[in-house]
Amino acid sequence: MPGLGTSFGRGGATTAQSDLANADAILIMGSSMAENHPVGFQWVMEAREKNGATIIHVDPRFTRTSAMADIWLPLRAGTDILFLGGLINYVLTNDKMFREYVLPYTNLSTVICEGFRDTEDLDGVFSGWDDIKKRYDHSTWQYQNVETLGYDEGHYGGGGHGKEGTGTSHPNGCERDETLQHPRCVYQILKKHFARYTPEMVEQGSGIPKEQFLKVAEAFTSASGPDKTAAICYSVGWTQHSKGVQIIRSAAILQLLLGNIGRPGGGILALRGHASIQGSTDIPTLYDILPGYLHMPFFKSGHNNFNDYILRHKSRKGLWFNYDTYFINLMKAWYGENARADNDWCFDLIPKLTGDHSHFGYWLDMREGKMDGLFVLGQNPAVGASNGRLERTALSKLKWLVVRDMVETETASFWYNSPEIERGELKTEDIATEVFLFPAAGTAEKAGTFTNTQRLLQFRELAIHPPGDARSDSWFMYHLGRRLKKKVEGKVGKRYEPLQKLQWNYKTEGPLKEPSISQVLKEISGWDLTSGKQVSGYKELKGDGTTASGCWIYSGVFPAENLNKALIRSPKNYLGHGWGFSWPNDVRIIYNRCSARPDGRPWSERKKLVWWDEEKQEWTGIDTPDFDKKKRPDYQPPEDATGTNGLAGDKPFILNADGVGWVFAPTGLMDGPLPTHYEPLESPLHNPLYRSHDTNPPEDKKIRPDNEYAPIGDGRFPYVLSTYRLTEHHTAGGMSRTLPHLAELQPELFCELSPELAADLELVHGEWACIYTPRSVIEARVMVTPRMRPLWVQGRTVHQVGLPYHWGYNGLVKGDVTNDLLPISEEPNVRIMETKALVCDIVPGRRATGPEALKQWKAHKEEAA
């Protein structure tokens, strides 16, 4: 998400799935789209069938997506940046850039300040690396002549989800060299940075033979220019890495160089991992952002006030000029009349970050007994989170645990049924946690919206009331809030104020007294508090407290009293206008100013999307323009203009302060302005590029006795392990292992490995094998398949083993928990764990049961390499 956010301005897919049908080439990497986004994949098929598009799939395994692709390449898990960097290098050395697009629309010509040093200069780190604090100082990454507030040191404790084209830089007078000759212009820096990512290096590091790589490079980069576009689809295979954000940055750079962003059949389709994860980052359940990608304020004395907060995040130009407006509207939505200018809009009442409050951040605190209670809603961390052993043991330290789900998940039953109980590490009698299991309502049993991977809000109406005591999460939260407010009524003290001042007057409807979701959606969309009418979009929001909106990017979804755009189902065109509401403003392909030339004409008839209508003096086209409708293409802003008026008529990326796509990201990311190849945290090989830094330097490995890592090249764990999903099951399996029709499709946990590895280790197809990592041991059925291939990397054979992660110890079909094998680690920007590349050992035979299993695992760990 920050990968896309820093590059373009918004952390979300740049296009709609149906637009893939217009692509001339599609690269699917870090995703098995046919398996995990099968409905969206129909448009990839359309591209293939109707457009003759070349479908390229790069994945350690040959999956059902590869079966539909034209070209498949296996690569060593964790070497995605090497591959993408290789493509960038190919574009630069063979002059495949779409120059007419790149020069005006990206910061390729911008000059970076003098103090900047690249990883090539410093053997694996950028300038500003503090080896003791293990973090970067960004001041040497800034544009020449541009001031920036830099980063608050303490801010590092917070996360990076909101780190989009933020307003901390004031790019007035940033220097540009259109000839691209200046030694410190982004183009030259880029060239130097990726100079060693040659096809030979790609082969050496990731195992892709040179010819095959060049075949893909040619196929993909030739689908670029005025007449052609190519799209990239990625999913969790890119995000769940120790450098996931940077992998996505590489793709963003590539697409910017090829001129594919904001154009039909182009863009980057971030395939979210769940049906509504986009929604859960827009209206976030993330700890470090507020609705609409505003930042959660960070507590630091001296900076703990509203003005400093706004100063930090408001930019002079671009949409984030209105940062304070959006924030104030949010506060008005939450606190109603209690939020006023004189009390800083209740800024003091919202919680402040004091450190790493991400999932692993607080879970490790929980493990140390620092937490009393936990609500787990529709999540199953006992199976779905890394290092299951640590996760479940941590739960036993709570005083109380509330689990809301449709079935009794492994998280809810950890206290009497879990591998720790079986192995004797935990005893039910000794666990003091009081566990409450609340039945939850299913999808059709509650109203609400989903926001899918293409930023599309779709409202679902309630079809049937939930049975028995089952209730929806909104019912639960609303009534919990109501009761808590009642409890603190009349009490005096600052700690009660946040609850007391919270506006919580939602109507309830129906026999079960469900809160009115329509009302909530109206509040999110926003209304004018003086007239009581809905606003039609975020442009109507005011910063004086007269309007309120729960999430500015959703503003416009409910523009009039009875017009719920998320509920409408009358599509007018292939982009789906008239079906649901796509944020922002029902724009389907964002940054679509790029689909027109700087002068406003479309690049070509074939690839037209929005264009300037000279007669009507406005932007028009097939999609809603993601641009000021009336801004002329040749508009030049006056010196002191602010907001989007401060951006010229040919600057499409309106959330970035300089209005252009960021090939080089001066701010926003913790681990570098440019992506660099590092090895995964556990790898059989050293970094072929840099001696001093094998892995991503700012990565937090959270090393502890129960979260050990294997050193690089550890002989005890010689094989690369990757985890993934199957179509037939849903994530941690709570909703699929419990349903007979799904459970029977994939009833048992199995591992996939190549015939060569099976022959070497005498593993028999259909029998059992134990997979060991420094964290745990599990057993799985052996599936020998030629779809897994050994790779020839840096002069030796690297074998890869694949494991799906859907099984747990409850349900109709049971199996070991794959995520027990994974370590807890935190990517520097979003604190996500690395699940896609680690090391393991695999041995024929069954895992011992009971305490013997621990002994078996320890014995394996202790044997000499």
Partner: protein, 260 residues
């Protein structure tokens, strides 16, 4: 009523099994037990009384650089199997109670209120589709979503298929579409693309046709399916012969012996 048909195009199938599940959900079928077969991603094995759509996975060794859509190599193909709704159906001819009938849409339908579970259809289907459910007692197979078709809807599997690999429509249109599609695939270089519709056997063609890559035998589609009524003539002749031997033999035996 037009005669409707399925065209299952395996070059568009992504192996997602939505058809399998949609069919089970719509028809409220049971599960087939939870055993792992280890046969690629197919844990179902075959259609039967509680599985009426079954996705087959045919795995061959992929080569570097070649995706499954490459014309040179079919490395992993998926094909959704179903009752073929034969033009001349073995089960229909064999059914003694008349439970198995042809609907107005041309599909072969087992009336569950008539079937008494004699299981003769089971040994009369050359494709091994229909099967008796021993707990329930009756025989079951794909109904061609007769209930849905009567309401003007598509069958559940066709509706659920995300890539329109399962095409449903008028049989003549689909036969034409199939030919066009196979020609198109072959012109793209896929010489192994073919249509499976055995019109020159006694089955006289199917109402559920398949476009597959590679030999249909690897999908368990028989090269020469026959309706067992082709054996009737020889069979009854043999029966008549036996009857003749009984009568003549008996006459000879008794006439030629002493009275007792």
């Amino acid at each position: 009523m037009t005669t409707t048909a399925f065209l299952t195009d395996s070059t568009l199938c992504i192996g997602c099994k939505a058809c399998e599940v949609a069919c089970k959900e719509w028809n409220e079928l049971g599960d087939d037990g939870h055993t792992w077969t280890g046969l690629s991603y197919d844990n179902t094995g075959a259609v039967g009384h509680s599985t009426w759509r079954h996705v087959k996975f045919v795995e061959a060794a992929p080569l570097l650089g070649f995706g499954g859509n490459a014309p040179d190599l079919a490395s992993w193909t998926f094909s959704s199997d179903v009752c073929k709704h034969c033009e001349v159906a073995g089960c229909l001819e064999a059914c003694p109670t008349g439970a198995i009938v042809r609907t107005e849409f041309g599909g072969v339908f087992v009336q569950p209120d008539v079937c008494n579970g004699c299981a003769y259809c089971v040994v009369s289907c050359p494709f091994g589709v229909v099967q008796k459910n021993s707990h329930d007692g009756r025989a079951f197979k794909c109904t061609f979503c007769y209930d849905r078709q009567k309401e003007g809807l598509q069958p559940a599997c066709a509706k659920a298929c995300p890539t329109e690999s399962i095409k449903f429509g008028d049989i003549e249109e689909l036969k034409l579409a199939a030919q066009v599609r196979v020609e198109e695939l072959q012109s793209r270089g896929m010489q192994d693309a073919q249509l499976y519709d055995p019109i020159e056997t006694s089955v006289k063609g199917l109402h559920a046709m398949f476009i597959t890559r590679g030999d249909p035998k690897q999908y368990n589609l028989p090269p020469n399916p026959e309706v067992p009524t082709v054996y009737l003539e020889s069979a009854w002749k043999s029966s008549a012969l036996a009857a003749g031997v009984l009568v003549l033999g008996g006459l000879f035996a008794f006439l030629g012996s002493a009275r007792r």
